[in-house]
Each structure stands twice: as structure tokens, then as C-alpha cells.
């Protein structure tokens, strides 16, 4: 049967869903509606290689327009401002109306903003999309002392890049450690040391009381009455799912769009995938919302299969990375449900990994090391987690023993 399938949101989950639908359904119309005037592109390089000029705009797209044309996938740059789920219609700001038989919502997430006085609204920058990255890149070329508000992944990746551009960087974090939402403190401390060794200043446990403009620069007053003088301010203080469009509809929302393990929402024929979805994970037996590259891709693929009628559970073990200076940090599974922690390695040059176990099985792990040093073990850990293997803790803790030994074939 030929259906109209609309994918609302032109990011990674959207494009991977579209291509997966086409793999399983050669007839239906597939249209991606994206708010940015650019084919779906990779965001991870924006805070790193794009700022460092190692990657250009044209290197970022997942697929060229030729690939989309060959697979008969349409992409339209349009902003939708109303949804009528009952009559299966989307309404664009310009008056256009789109009808669908199946809808995938992959609107992603958006940056939380600082509450600032109106006269400062345009003075603090955020980084999520290419336009923002371009603006930051252009402006910082003329600035020296840059303050980053928020010591999470995005803030620290920008701090690493700007340091490599010879800028004086200050990171202000409200919590008592960096990356506190997801990363164990010992790993965060290793990353913090690397920033400090490269000349970045890290300020923890401080809140911002006030920002004042002064002669084209800024003064940031902290809650201990200290003052930071700075030329430029970037904030990375977390994100929220992009669901405003659905707030007054029947779609069930709770920290994003609530979906089951098949990417189905509370409304028939409406699916959600990627950052915007608070999905049920059958392995962990709980709902979760993830913001990562691997998840956006795999969740999009899973939604694509289900939309095309190939019923498929989403069971992917979460995985994410962050690159800062010469370090590669990786996290797999979940690290907040455990009864035992096992440490592997003690030297960041060879990689340090913390495994989080429950009932002698790995639930998650987090590692950091010089580029290349933790990836293989973290990947094996994902496989061990997925297979629900009871692990030999002696092998886990001994860096001289390969983890491959633990995989039962």
C-alpha cells in the first residue's frame, strides 16, 4: 500500500528513519520536514573540528542530495506551527498543509537558556546548530578571554577547541564536578586536570549572580562576590526536548514524547525517535531519554522499521563519546544502578575505565584515555551488557588481560 509518511525534524534520527523506511517500502512517499535549510548533518564536529577549521560545512552532511534523490526521499525546509492529530495534518507557518498516514516526530532537543535581563539576551551564545557554530567561530576570532557557563560535554568540548585556538578559557560550573549529570567524579576529575594542564581555568560550585556589560566586554559576578572579566560568553547548560508544538494536544508528554519499545507514541500512527523521545528500554525495564549520536541513528532506524511494518524492539545499549584535547571519553549503558564499581587501569595515557555492576553483571561503564585507548574495552563492555553476562571481575580489573576473553561465543 502506498502511504504518505512524514518525518517532522531534519536531524540524524529523521534521515536514518527515512532511509530505513525506504529499505523496507519502495512505494510510499517519504518526506522530511526540516527547520534548517540544510540536509541532515552531523552535529558532533560543530564544537570540535568545525571550530578548529579541520572540517568545513560541506563535510558535515550525512548524505548528499543525490543519495536522497536516488532513494526518492524528499526534504523540505519548512517550519510547522500546528498539528492536528485527529485529521492527520500538519500546518506550516506559510499556510501550507501536509497530510500524513504515518508521522515520525524527530524534532530533537533545544538548548536551555539562562534567565537574563533583556539587554543581555543577544550577548550570550549557545551552540547546537551550524548557524550558531558559524557565528561563534567568527566572533571568537577577535576575542581573547572567553567564559563558558556550564561544565557539561558541550561546554568542555568548546573549551578544549578554544584553548587549542590559543584563547584564555574560563569554565564556570554550578555543581561540584564537571559533567556531573552522567560521568563518575573520578573520571570527571581526570578530564578537569587535562583542561587545567592546557591552561583552562575551571571554577566549580559557583553560581552566576549577575552579568554586566562594560566597555564592550562583560563582568560576571559570582555568588562568592568574585568577578570574572571576559570578552565573550558561551553557555551550555543542558537541553530540553523540542515538544512545544504538541503541548496542547493529546500526545502523551513526560520529559519528551513518551514512546514504547517500538517507537510508538500514545497516538496511533504517530511515532517518535531520537532526543525528543522518552522511550521504554526493555533491557533496563525503564523509560529513558538520550541525547547522543549513536542513539539518534539507531532509534531512527528502529522507528523506520516499525513505520514500514517490520515490528522491531529498540534494545540498543546506550553509548556516547566526548573528545576533549587528546582525550576520548566514552560511556556505555547506564551508570546509576549498581551495587559494585570495578576500576580498570590507573593511568589516563593507557585508559581508565569504571564498570558499574549489579548482581555481578555490567549495567554500564565509563572510561577516559588518550585517543583510542578505551574504545575497544567499552565496545566489548556494551556487548557483555547486552548479553547479560556474569563477568569475571578479576579480568575486568586487570588491564593486562584482554576483555575479549569474557565474550562467550
Amino acid at each position: 500500500m502506498k502511504n504518505n509518511i512524514i518525518i517532522l525534524g531534519g536531524g540524524q534520527a529523521g534521515i536514518y528513519a527515512a532511509r530505513e523506511i525506504r529499505q523496507n517500502d519502495s512505494k510510499s512517499n517519504i518526506k522530511i520536514l526540516g527547520e534548517e535549510n540544510l540536509l541532515p548533518y552531523e552535529r558532533p564536529p560543530l564544537s570540535k573540528d568545525f571550530l578548529l577549521d579541520k572540517k568545513k560545512e560541506e563535510d558535515l552532511c550525512f548524505h548528499s542530495s543525490d543519495v536522497l534523490n536516488n532513494e526518492n526521499i524528499e526534504f523540505e525546509n519548512i517550519s510547522i506551527n500546528k498539528v492536528d492529530f485527529e485529521n492527520k495534518k500538519l500546518f506550516a507557518k506559510n499556510g501550507d498543509v501536509y497530510s500524513y498516514d504515518s508521522l515520525l516526530i524527530s524534532t530533537g532537543s533545544e538548548n536551555k537558556k539562562l534567565s537574563l535581563d533583556n539587554n543581555l539576551k543577544n550577548d550570550v551564545y549557545y551552540l547546537r546548530n551550524l548557524e550558531e557554530a558559524k557565528k561563534i567561530k567568527e566572533i571568537v576570532s577577535n576575542k581573547n578571554k572567553i567564559t563558558i557557563i556550564g561544565g557539561g560535554f558541550i561546554g568542555l568540548e568548546i573549551a578544549s577547541s578554544l584553548s587549542q585556538l590559543q584563547k584564555k578559557v574560563i569554565v564556570i560550573e554550578i555543581g561540584n564536578q564537571l559533567m556531573g549529570r552522567t560521568i563518575p567524579k573520578k573520571i570527571a576529575d581526570l578530564v578537569q586536570n587535562t583542561h587545567i594542564e592546557h591552561g583552562n581555568e575551571i571554577i566549580l560550585n559557583k553560581q552566576i549572580e549577575k552579568i554586566t556589560k562594560k566597555n564592550g566586554n562583560y563582568e560576571i559576578l559570582l555568588n562568592d562576590n568574585s568577578i570574572i572579566e571576559t570578552d565573550f560568553i558561551i553557555a551550555g547548560i543542558g537541553s530540553t526536548p523540542t515538544v512545544k508544538l504538541f503541548e496542547n494536544t493529546n500526545l502523551k508528554l513526560d520529559n519528551g514524547i513518551v514512546t514504547n519499545q517500538f517507537c510508538e507514541t500514545s497516538i496511533k500512527d504517530v511515532y517518535a525517535a531520537g532526543d525528543v523521545s522518552n522511550f521504554y528500554h526493555p533491557f533496563y525495564e525503564r523509560n529513558m531519554r538520550l541525547e547522543s549520536y549513536q542513539h539518534a541513528q539507531n532509534h531512527g532506524i528502529c522507528a523506520g522499521k516499525n513505520i514500514a511494518g517490520v515490528k522491531t524492539e529498540y534494545t540498543s545499549i546506550p553509548w556516547m563519546w566526548s573528545d576533549q584535547f587528546n582525550l576520548n571519553l566514552q560511556l556505555t549503558g547506564i551508570c546509576d544502578e549498581y551495587d559494585e564499581i570495578i576500576e580498570r587501569g590507573d593511568d589516563i595515557n593507557n585508559g581508565v575505565i569504571y564498570f558499574f555492576l549489579k548482581n555481578n553483571k555490567i549495567r554500564g561503564a565509563c572510561g577516559v584515555g588518550t585517543i583510542g585507548k578505551v574504545g575497544r574495552d567499552i565496545r566489548i563492555t556494551s556487548k557483555l551488557t547486552e548479553k547479560d553476562t556474569i563477568v569475571d571481575k578479576q579480568i575486568l580489573s586487570d588491564q593486562n588481560q584482554k576483555l575479549n576473553k569474557l565474550i562467550q561465543k
Partner: protein, 105 residues
């Protein structure tokens, strides 16, 4: 192709099955793999970002980059999973008297 292009990498027992070794030759890095059905060779640096594949995971016929999990088919060099999208160059391999040789262009 002349005989000189076959470069000796090492002995066959220097690589465990389903594993690899790194081999550097004239400013270039290669990876030489031992799979269940023989030996294979590819470039040693991921096509996505410049990281050595020697620290990657070999599973079946695939090598997975340790940095961002880009996956390549070891035999064909084909990039199988993003963020890797550019194929990895492969090289012919021969074994002679328990020694592994790779043919470099």
C-alpha cells in the same frame, strides 16, 4: 608489480586469531589482521578522524574504530557504519614460510 613491493610484516604467530597488529612502513601505518580464513591488511588510520585502528575491536570480518565506532569490512575496506563513510584502503597479503607479506603500491 615488482617483487620489492611485497614487504615483510612479521611471522604468522605474531597475530592471534581475530586480532590485528599495527605495521609502520615509510611514514605509513597499516593494520594486518588474522581472521578465521587467513590474513588481511588495510590502512592503519580510520578514514573518519585520524586515529589508529590498532586499538579497535576485530569481530568476525569487521574492524571497529575505537574512537567513534565507525565500522569497516576488513576484506573489502567498505565503510559499514557511520560516522565512517569513506572506505578503508586494503592491500594484498601473502604468507610464505610462516612469514606475512603485504603488497604496498
Amino acid at each position: 608489480m615488482s617483487e620489492e613491493n611485497w614487504i615483510e610484516v612479521g611471522s604468522t604467530d605474531s597475530i592471534e586469531e581475530e586480532d590485528l597488529i599495527r605495521f609502520d612502513h615509510q611514514d605509513k601505518t597499516f593494520c594486518v589482521y588474522r581472521l578465521t580464513d587467513g590474513f588481511y591488511a588495510t590502512d592503519g588510520i580510520c578514514t573518519h578522524e585520524s586515529v589508529h585502528l590498532e586499538d579497535g575491536l576485530v569481530m568476525d570480518d569487521e574492524i571497529e574504530c575505537p574512537m567513534h565506532q565507525g565500522i569497516f569490512n576488513i576484506k573489502s575496506g567498505e565503510a559499514l557504519s557511520p560516522p565512517a563513510c569513506e572506505d578503508l584502503k586494503t592491500y594484498p597479503v601473502k604468507v610464505d614460510n610462516d612469514k606475512i607479506f603485504i603488497k604496498i603500491d
